[in-house]
C-alpha cells in the first residue's frame, strides 16, 4: 500500500515537473529516466540473479549508436523504430556474449563482461569511418509517434514531448520488469541467486535462466542507451567505456540492488548529486569515491535499504 502511494506520488511529481520545475532540472530528468530503464535491466542480473556486470555500457553504447546511426545515415527518424532496433540489436549482441559469460560467476563473470565491453569500446573508437571514432556520431532529433516536432526549439522538444515520451517508456519498462520479477521466471532467478546448486537440483536450468536474464538486461540497457542520445545530440565512445559501466554499478549500489525500485532511486540521486557536487568541488570524483565506500561499509543495501530498515517489521508492529 505504502509502496503504491509512493509510486503514485513519484509518478505525479514526474508528470508535473515540466510545468513547475526549472528547465535545467527538467532536462536532468531525461538522463535519469534513461538510466532508470538501464538499471531496471541491470538489476535483473545484479539484484535478482546475483551476477555483477562490469560491461553493461556495451549495451548502452549499442542502443545509443543504433539511434545515432539510424538518424544520421538513413531518413528514418521514428523513435519507436529506434527503440525497437536498439532492443533487437542489443539482444542479438547479448546472445553470444551471454552464452560465454553466464558459464562463469563472481569475479570471472565480471571480468568477462568488462572484456566484452572494452572490445566494443575499441571497435567504436577505431572504426572511425563507421562510428566517427572519438568524435562520435550525431543523434538527430527523433520523431515521436509520427510527430516530427521540427519547428519546436530543441529545449522545448526535450522538456515537452520527449520528456513525456521517456516517462512513458520508463513506465512501460517498469511494468514489464515488475511482471518479470514477480513471475515464476523471476522466482527462479532469485533461487539461482540464493542457491544455484539447490536450483539445479530443483530442475531449474541455471545457465539457461542466467542467459535469459542477461539478454533481457541487455535489451533494457540498449533501450535506455537509445533514450540517452537525443538530449546530448551526439553519441561518443565514452558511453561504452568501462567507467560508464562502473557508474551503472555505482547507481545500483547507491539506490540498493535488493529493492526493485532501489536502482531507479540510485539513478535519480546519482544524477542530481553529481550535478550539485560537480559545481561545488572540482574533486567531485573523490567525493563520489568516498560515498561509494560509505555505502558499502554502512549501507550495503543502499538508500532503499536504509528506508526499509527503519520501517518496523509486521511482527514487531503486532
Amino acid at each position: 500500500m505504502k509502496r503504491g502511494l509512493g509510486l503514485a506520488a513519484a509518478t505525479a511529481a514526474m508528470a508535473v515537473a515540466p510545468l513547475v520545475g526549472g528547465t535545467y532540472h527538467v532536462l536532468l530528468m531525461l538522463p535519469f529516466m534513461a538510466y532508470a530503464v538501464v538499471l531496471l535491466g541491470l538489476n535483473l542480473l545484479f539484484g535478482y540473479t546475483g551476477l555483477v556486470s562490469f560491461g553493461h555500457a556495451l549495451f548502452v553504447g549499442i542502443g545509443a549508436y543504433t539511434g545515432a546511426f539510424i538518424t544520421s545515415r538513413t531518413t528514418i527518424r521514428s523513435l519507436e523504430v529506434i527503440l525497437l532496433s536498439a532492443a533487437v540489436l542489443g539482444a542479438l549482441v547479448a546472445a553470444p556474449v551471454a552464452a560465454l559469460c553466464v558459464r562463469y560467476v563472481k569475479i570471472y563473470f565480471g571480468m568477462l563482461t568488462l572484456a566484452f565491453g572494452m572490445v566494443f569500446y575499441t571497435f567504436v573508437l577505431k572504426f572511425y569511418r563507421l562510428t566517427g571514432g572519438d568524435e562520435g556520431t550525431p543523434f538527430l532529433r527523433p520523431s515521436l509517434l509520427g510527430h516530427a516536432f521540427d519547428a519546436m526549439p530543441k529545449i522545448d522538444y526535450l522538456t515537452g514531448p520527449y520528456y513525456y515520451y521517456s516517462m512513458a517508456v520508463l513506465g512501460l519498462a517498469t511494468l514489464v520488469m515488475w511482471r518479470i520479477v514477480c513471475s515464476p521466471f523471476g522466482l527462479c532467478l532469485k533461487t539461482i541467486r540464493d542457491n544455484p546448486a539447490k536450483a539445479e537440483t530443483l530442475g531449474i536450468g541455471v545457465t539457461r535462466y542466467r542467459f535469459l536474464a542477461f539478454v533481457i538486461s541487455a535489451v533494457y540497457a540498449a533501450v535506455g542507451g537509445a533514450l540517452l542520445g537525443p538530449p546530448t545530440g551526439n553519441v561518443d565512445p565514452t558511453l561504452a567505456y568501462w567507467t560508464h559501466s562502473g557508474s551503472l554499478v555505482f547507481m545500483t549500489l547507491l539506490g540498493g540492488f535488493a529493492s526493485f525500485f532501489g536502482p531507479v532511486v540510485g539513478a535519480f540521486v546519482f544524477i542530481y548529486l553529481q550535478n550539485w557536487v560537480m559545481s561545488v568541488v572540482p574533486y567531485w570524483r573523490l567525493v563520489f569515491g568516498a560515498i561509494l565506500a560509505l555505502i558499502v561499509i554502512i549501507a550495503p543495501e543502499g538508500l532503499a535499504g536504509l528506508v526499509t530498515r527503519r520501517r518496523p517489521a509486521p511482527a514487531e508492529r503486532a
Binding site: 508528470a15 508535473v16 515540466p18 510545468l19 513547475v20 526549472g22 528547465t23 535545467y24 532540472h25 532536462l27 536532468l28 538522463p31 573508437l125 577505431k126 572511425y128 566517427g132 571514432g133 572519438d134 568524435e135 562520435g136 550525431p138 519547428a151 519546436m152 526549439p153 530543441k154 529545449i155 522545448d156 522538456t159 515537452g160 514531448p161 513525456y164 540517452l228 538530449p231 546530448t232 545530440g233 551526439n234 561518443d236 565514452t238 558511453l239 553529481q274 550535478n275 560537480m278 559545481s279 572540482p282 567531485w284 570524483r285
Partner: protein, 429 residues
C-alpha cells in the same frame, strides 16, 4: 518564435496545451526580458575547463588565464561598470559537458560561455549553443568532423582554429629547415587529431617535396607512456625525419625515451604541438635542431608585447611554471567578449542583447597575449602560429626556439567553406 527568446515558452506552452496540462504554470515563466545594463550587478561568465585526465593541465592553463583576465578587468572597473564573475564547470565527456553547459545557461544565467578543448566534446556543444541562444566561445575545440566543418554558418557558436593548422605550418617549415629529406616517419595519438595532423602534414609536404616518401605511421593510444617498441620501429624505418603531433606529457616521454637510444643523432625531428608542454622538454634529453611548435603563443617571444611579458612574469610567480598556449586562447576569448560588449553597447553604454554581442564579435580584432587576434566572419579564430628550431642557448633548463617563425592562419588555415585537401592542392608553390 526565434532563438532570441530567452525561455522558449510559447512553443512549450503550445505543446502543453496539446496534452491538456499546466498552461498557467508555464506562462508564469514568461517574464524573462532582455538583459539591459544592470548597474553594478556582476556579469556572469561561464567557463568550461577540463579538470581531470591527460588534458587537465591544458584546462588548468586556460582557466588560470581566464582568472588573470577577470582580475585585471575587475581592477579596471569591469565591463561597462559591471564586475566579472566567473562560474566554472568541468569539461569532461560530451554527455556530461552538455549538461554542464545547459546548467551554465539555464540555471546560472550566464551571459556567455567560454571554453571547450576536446573536439569530441565541442562537436556536441556546438548545436547545443545554437539551441540555447547564448554565445559560446571555444578555447580550443572545433566543430570539425575530421577536417570537414559541420557547422559552417553558426549563429551563437565561435570555434577554435582548425585542428590541423599546426601540422600545416610544420609542413610549410619542414623543407625550409631540413634540406634533402627523402623519407618521413610519423607518430601521433590514435584519435582524430593525431590522424588529421598526419594526413595534413603529408599533403603539405608532398606539395613542397613531391618525391618524399612516407615510410611509417604509428598511432599509439592517447595516454600511453611506453614508446620503446614505437621508437624501435622508427629506428628500423631509417627515415630521415620523424613527425610527431603529441601535445601532452607523452611528448616529453617520447623525447626522453628517444634520447636514451640517440634517435635524433641520426634523424631530424618535427614536433608540431609539443610546445604545449614546453617547460618539461629539458635540455638534458631534448636536442637542439628539432622543429618545435608552440601553437599560438610562444611565452619567450623576443618580439612579444608588454602584455605577454607581464602575463608570463605573473603566471610564473603564481604557478611556478611558464604558460603554455592554451592561456592565449582563453585570454583571447574573454577579451574579445569584453570588446564585443563594449562595441555593441555603443556610445549609450547600454548593456547589449546577446545577439548584438554576437554581431559585434564577428570580425572583431583585439590585442591578445600573443598579439593581434580576431574572429573570422564564420566564427573561427584567426591568429598566428609560432614554431622554430630548438635551442639550448637560454637561461632556462628547458629548450626554447630560435629563430622564431610566425605563420598566420591567413596562410595556413583553409578559408571558410573550402575543402582542406582541395585547398592544399591548389597552392601555388
Amino acid at each position: 518564435m526565434t532563438l532570441l527568446d530567452q525561455d522558449h515558452q510559447p512553443s512549450r506552452r503550445q505543446f502543453l496545451t496539446l496534452v491538456g496540462a499546466g498552461v498557467g504554470a508555464a506562462a508564469a515563466r514568461l517574464g524573462a526580458g532582455p538583459a539591459f545594463a544592470q548597474g553594478g550587478a556582476p556579469v556572469k561568465i561561464g567557463v568550461l575547463a577540463i579538470r581531470a585526465g591527460i588534458a587537465a593541465p591544458v584546462g588548468a592553463a586556460g582557466l588560470r588565464a581566464t582568472e588573470w583576465w577577470a582580475e585585471r578587468v575587475n581592477k579596471a572597473g569591469g565591463i561597462l561598470g559591471r564586475p566579472v564573475q566567473l562560474v566554472v564547470e568541468e569539461e569532461s565527456n560530451p554527455k556530461d559537458t552538455v549538461e554542464r553547459y545547459r546548467k551554465l545557461v539555464l540555471q546560472d544565467q550566464v551571459e556567455v560561455v567560454l571554453g571547450g578543448i576536446s573536439t569530441g566534446v565541442t562537436l556536441a556543444l556546438g548545436p547545443v549553443a545554437e539551441d540555447l541562444g547564448t554565445p559560446w566561445l571555444s578555447w580550443d575545440g572545433t566543430t570539425q568532423k575530421g577536417v570537414e566543418e559541420t557547422m559552417p554558418n553558426p549563429k551563437w557558436a565561435f570555434k577554435s582554429v582548425d585542428n590541423e593548422v599546426e601540422a600545416i605550418v610544420a609542413g610549410i617549415l619542414t623543407p625550409k629547415y631540413f634540406k634533402g629529406i627523402k623519407t618521413v616517419a610519423g607518430i601521433g595519438n590514435d584519435y582524430s587529431y593525431g590522424h588529421d595532423c598526419w594526413e595534413s602534414y603529408q599533403a603539405v609536404l608532398k606539395r613542397y617535396l613531391p618525391d618524399v616518401k612516407f615510410v611509417l605511421e604509428l598511432f599509439p593510444k592517447l595516454g600511453v607512456t611506453d614508446f620503446t617498441s614505437h621508437i624501435a620501429a622508427i629506428q628500423q624505418s631509417k627515415a630521415d625525419l620523424l613527425m610527431c603531433s603529441f601535445w601532452s606529457g607523452d611528448a616529453t616521454i617520447i623525447m626522453k625515451q628517444a634520447a636514451a637510444v640517440g634517435l635524433f643523432k641520426t634523424m631530424k625531428g618535427v614536433f608540431t604541438t609539443a610546445g604545449g608542454v614546453h617547460d618539461s622538454l629539458k635540455k638534458e634529453f631534448t636536442p637542439e635542431g628539432l622543429l618545435l611548435g608552440y601553437n599560438t603563443m610562444y611565452f619567450d617571444d623576443p618580439k612579444g608585447s608588454a602584455l605577454l611579458k607581464q602575463f608570463v612574469r605573473e603566471y610564473k610567480a603564481k604557478h611556478n611554471e611558464y604558460p603554455p598556449y592554451e592561456c592565449d586562447h582563453a585570454y583571447f576569448n574573454a577579451e574579445s567578449y569584453k570588446a564585443a560588449v563594449e562595441k555593441a553597447a555603443g556610445a549609450a553604454k547600454r548593456w547589449p542583447e546577446k545577439a548584438q554581442v554576437v554581431k559585434a564579435l564577428e570580425g572583431i580584432e583585439i590585442e591578445s597575449l600573443s598579439g593581434r587576434r580576431s574572429w573570422r566572419e564564420d566564427h573561427v579564430q584567426m591568429c598566428s602560429f609560432y614554431q622554430g628550431m630548438t635551442t639550448h642557448k637560454n637561461s632556462y633548463d628547458f629548450v626554447t626556439i630560435s629563430p622564431v617563425e610566425v605563420v598566420s592562419t591567413r596562410q595556413a588555415m583553409k578559408p571558410a567553406g573550402a575543402k582542406l585537401f582541395d585547398w592544399i592542392s591548389g597552392w601555388k608553390i
